[in-house]
């Protein structure tokens, strides 16, 4: 008691440390097992493990948080079986949202993959699924339109009037610093958005309401003719190429279902500068290129296209030009124009 009276802060700090350590010790192999992997007892107190978990919403009293289960779902990689499972899951979800798709289909943009099929049909949905998942299968349905080839051409800013951009902080930057796009296109972009969270995380403001909606919901309610996606940088430290690809494929497939008429542009992840790339274990251009190569295969060049804006911002070694970036990762405000110009020159126009 005397001790507590003389040095209450010291005693309280010590007691709290001990309690937190005990709690972490008890749960270290169960709910915090994911976090103990990198733990080094020489460097940090044991309870730092629990605190990391708590930041992800994993509390001792509520068990395993959602984000972990999402990760685990894709650990198995992109082997066909699991991919098909994922797609099958989607098929079920799809059925429930049929009427929403119907609304989306009433857009006046000609449907390319199944343009004659205007009915609210399951066939349309299935075709959407197939194309996104595997372009070879998609050709089975082929009509003469399927074999048509498209080439990138130059357009004016009006092209973006019915376009949607989905992305992380880099796309946020595009909206903030390219007035021509911001005033025309719609942006579903958020700092630290990932392919794992893009569909389900409620971050889109609803006018006059405090609640927010998810991209999934927004895509069910609105329709777009062009959808540009750039995601993948925040995920560099998570999973591997296969898990990333599998999730990306699932997201594209879902967007395809919700927006059957839209041209989907998969944008390759923008590079980082040489300084960053040379020093960083995760955020380097070798890893980015690997992932870009994987997601590029999702394009079918019919209604899903792959765009690599890195051409517009790279130096001769394939690194982001140093003078275009302050933090080695993001474009400076004045450099976003290069991305804008690249998009203007690489558009698909279907008649």
């Amino acid at each position: 008691m005397k001790l507590l009276k003389n040095c209450p802060l010291l005693v309280a700090t010590a007691v709290v440390s001990i309690i937190l350590s005990c709690v972490t010790f008890v749960f270290r192999d169960s709910i915090y097992s994911d976090y103990t992997v990198d733990y080094d007892s020489a460097k940090a107190p044991l309870f730092s493990v629990m605190m990391k978990g708590m930041a992800d919403g994993v509390y001792p009293w509520n068990g395993v948080a959602d984000i972990r289960t999402i990760d685990e779902k894709y650990v198995s990689g992109k082997d066909n079986e699991s991919l098909q499972d994922v797609q099958a899951d989607n098929g079920i979800v799809e059925g429930e949202t049929e009427t929403d798709n119907n609304a989306a289909q009433q857009s006046d943009i000609p449907v390319v993959s199944s343009s004659e099929d205007q009915d609210i049909s399951e066939e349309a949905d299935v075709s959407g699924n197939d194309i996104s998942g595997n372009s070879e299968e998609g050709t089975e349905e082929g009509t003469e339109e399927e074999t048509e080839t498209y080439e990138f051409c130059e357009v004016t800013d009006d092209y973006f009037e019915d376009a949607l951009f989905i992305g992380d902080s880099r796309t946020v930057g595009l909206s903030e610093y390219v007035e021509a796009l911001d005033s025309r296109a719609t942006f579903y972009a958020k700092v630290s958005l990932t392919i794992y969270t893009v569909m389900d995380k409620p971050f889109l403001k609803i006018e006059g309401s405090k609640t927010k909606k998810t991209v999934e919901e927004a895509l069910s309610e609105n329709s777009f003719s062009k959808i540009y996606i750039m995601l993948g940088l925040n995920e560099m430290g998570t999973g591997n190429v296969d898990t990333f690809y599998a999730k990306y494929a699932e997201v594209i497939s879902r967007i395809r279902e919700l927006q059957p008429d839209a041209i989907i542009y998969i944008q390759g992840i923008m590079h980082v500068t040489a300084d960053k790339s040379d020093k960083d274990k995760y955020f380097n251009n070798t890893n980015i290129n690997e992932r870009n190569a994987a997601i590029a295969t999702l394009a079918n060049n019919q209604d899903i296209f792959y765009l690599d804006m890195n051409e517009a911002v790279d130096d001769e070694n394939g690194n982001l030009l140093k003078e275009l970036s302050f933090d080695d990762v993001h474009l400076r405000a004045s450099s976003y124009e290069r991305w804008h110009q690249y998009l203007l020159q690489h558009a698909i126009v279907k008649e």
Binding site: A42, S48, M51, A333, S334
Partner: protein, 457 residues
């Protein structure tokens, strides 16, 4: 680990060291301090450890020589030249060749060494110190990285260390640790919860690019960087002083409410006070100080502020920063507080502190002259050309960082810290400190060893 706001330091090095320190008999504690400090330095910068050790030995030998010699002045001049040259050389190497060639804390330990030699010369150190004392004073880990530049008299003023000190009572030990911990926790809060978050805003501003800032955001940026620097360094200084208190040293005041100052000269008596008083005692006063004619005073001030600029770094912006402060201080001394009516002088002085000082920090922050030009052309949008400005950028950033900016602004009120200092032993303050400490630890757990914390794209 060499960062005080690091979990390894807080939960591993510090407790182990403090226990080892107090388990050692009082007369050997200086050795524990020396060995622990060398270990600490070695972890931070093992390659440059020999430089530190070499400098310590050379300075110890010279101090002994000065003490007994007839030609004291010559010896003093010689060793001060060696120390100064070493500092200049490493600064140039670090700037021109590679940053890693600059030994950790060199600016601080060299200044400590020079002050020690001068104090020895002026007979301010009565009893001849042992090698272990001198070495422990130069190397002591709470001060080696970024000060405060404590004088040797502060080192001597320790009642738990030394051969005359009897057995220390457990009660005294615990009350030292307890009191030091209070300052440490407050410092940790300033650093982790305010400075580190403001640093993120300053970084975001850089990401946008200075040429594309809206004018409101440019001014918010100046305030942000000024407060980031203040809470980072004040927080560090409180942590360093707190650790000193834990080990029985007196509390070293390094920041004394600088933004309550009435002028820029006053500001720099309160900001990084141990550096300011070092310049006063070892450069300004030996040059004649203020007891000489006006032109000579101006020259003395110029010398002091040029060296201050160089000491912070050898790039052009630091020199420019020092020169501008020199001009402001001279103008205050000979115009503002001499010729203007008193009420106007008061207003101008406050304007200097709240407007000119943040602008000088912008110069301090931005090394490239063209970038600096871009920044100032956004602060004062009458000249220069803006590119891709989003005029709502400041609304967005206030939304994200407004709370941290507000916290920083509120803590500028001098009364708050004084309130803490007076009441720091009251139960309610203890509870607040306990909560604050664990919030900081939570925040650190999620940034330390996690490269993604500050890199969310």
């Amino acid at each position: 680990m060499i960062n005080f706001s690091d979990l390894t330091f807080i939960f591993r090095f510090l407790p182990v060291f403090v226990i080892a320190f107090y388990l050692t008999p009082a007369s050997y504690r200086k050795w524990t301090l020396l060995v622990g400090s060398l270990f600490f330095y070695g972890v931070g910068d093992i390659r440059m450890l020999p430089v530190l050790v070499g400098a310590v030995i050379v300075n110890y030998l010279f101090s002994r020589a000065i003490r007994g010699a007839d030609k004291k002045k010559l010896l003093l001049a010689f060793v001060v030249c060696i120390d100064a040259l070493m500092l200049v050389e490493f600064k140039i190497l670090g700037q021109v060749v590679d940053n890693s060639l600059m030994p950790l804390g060199v600016s601080f330990f060299v200044f400590k060494m020079i002050s020690f030699q001068a104090d020895t010369y002026m007979d301010k150190i009565k009893e001849e110190p042992t090698f272990a004392d001198v070495a422990a004073y130069f190397c002591m880990f709470p001060q080696i990285v970024s000060g405060p530049i404590m004088r040797f008299s502060g080192y001597e003023d320790n009642d738990v260390m030394g051969k005359d000190v009897g057995k220390t009572e457990l009660k005294e030990i615990l009350s030292n640790i307890e009191d030091g911990l209070r300052f440490f926790v407050l410092g940790l809060f300033f650093k982790v919860m305010i400075a580190d978050h403001l640093a993120m805003l300053w970084n975001d501003i850089g990401t946008i690019g200075y040429e594309s800032l809206s004018t409101p955001l440019a001014w918010i940026g100046a305030a942000t960087y000024s407060m980031q620097l203040y809470y980072d360094f004040w927080g560090y200084s409180l942590m360093a002083a707190g650790i000193g208190v834990m080990l029985g040293f007196p509390f070293v005041v390094n920041f004394d409410q600088p933004y309550a100052a009435k002028s820029v000269s006053d500001f720099y008596r309160r900001w990084h006070a141990t550096l300011g008083s070092w310049f006063r005692d070892y450069i300004y006063i030996p040059l004649g100080g203020s007891k000489v004619k006006a032109p000579r005073i101006v020259l003395n001030l110029l010398v002091v502020w040029l060296i201050t600029g160089f000491w912070h770094g050898i790039t052009l912006n630091y020199i420019l920063w020092g020169l501008i402060l020199f001009v402001i201080i001279v103008s205050e001394r000979f115009i503002v507080f001499k010729l203007l009516p008193k009420w106007l002088g008061t207003i101008v002085g406050k304007f200097h502190v709240f407007v000119l000082i943040p602008l000088t920090w912008v110069i301090f922050a931005i090394p490239g002259m063209s970038m600096l030009g871009d920044y100032f052309s956004r602060l004062f949008p009458f000249f220069g050309e803006a590119v891709a400005v989003n005029n709502n950028d400041y609304i967005k950033n206030l939304g994200i960082y407004g709370a941290f900016l507000a916290m920083g602004l509120i803590l500028l009120i001098p009364g708050i810290y004084q309130l803490f200092e007076r009441n720091r032993k009251k139960p309610v303050v203890t509870i607040i400190l306990l909560i604050v400490f664990w919030i900081c630890v939570y925040s650190l757990s999620n940034s330390a060893g996690n490269p993604f914390m500050y890199f969310k794209f």
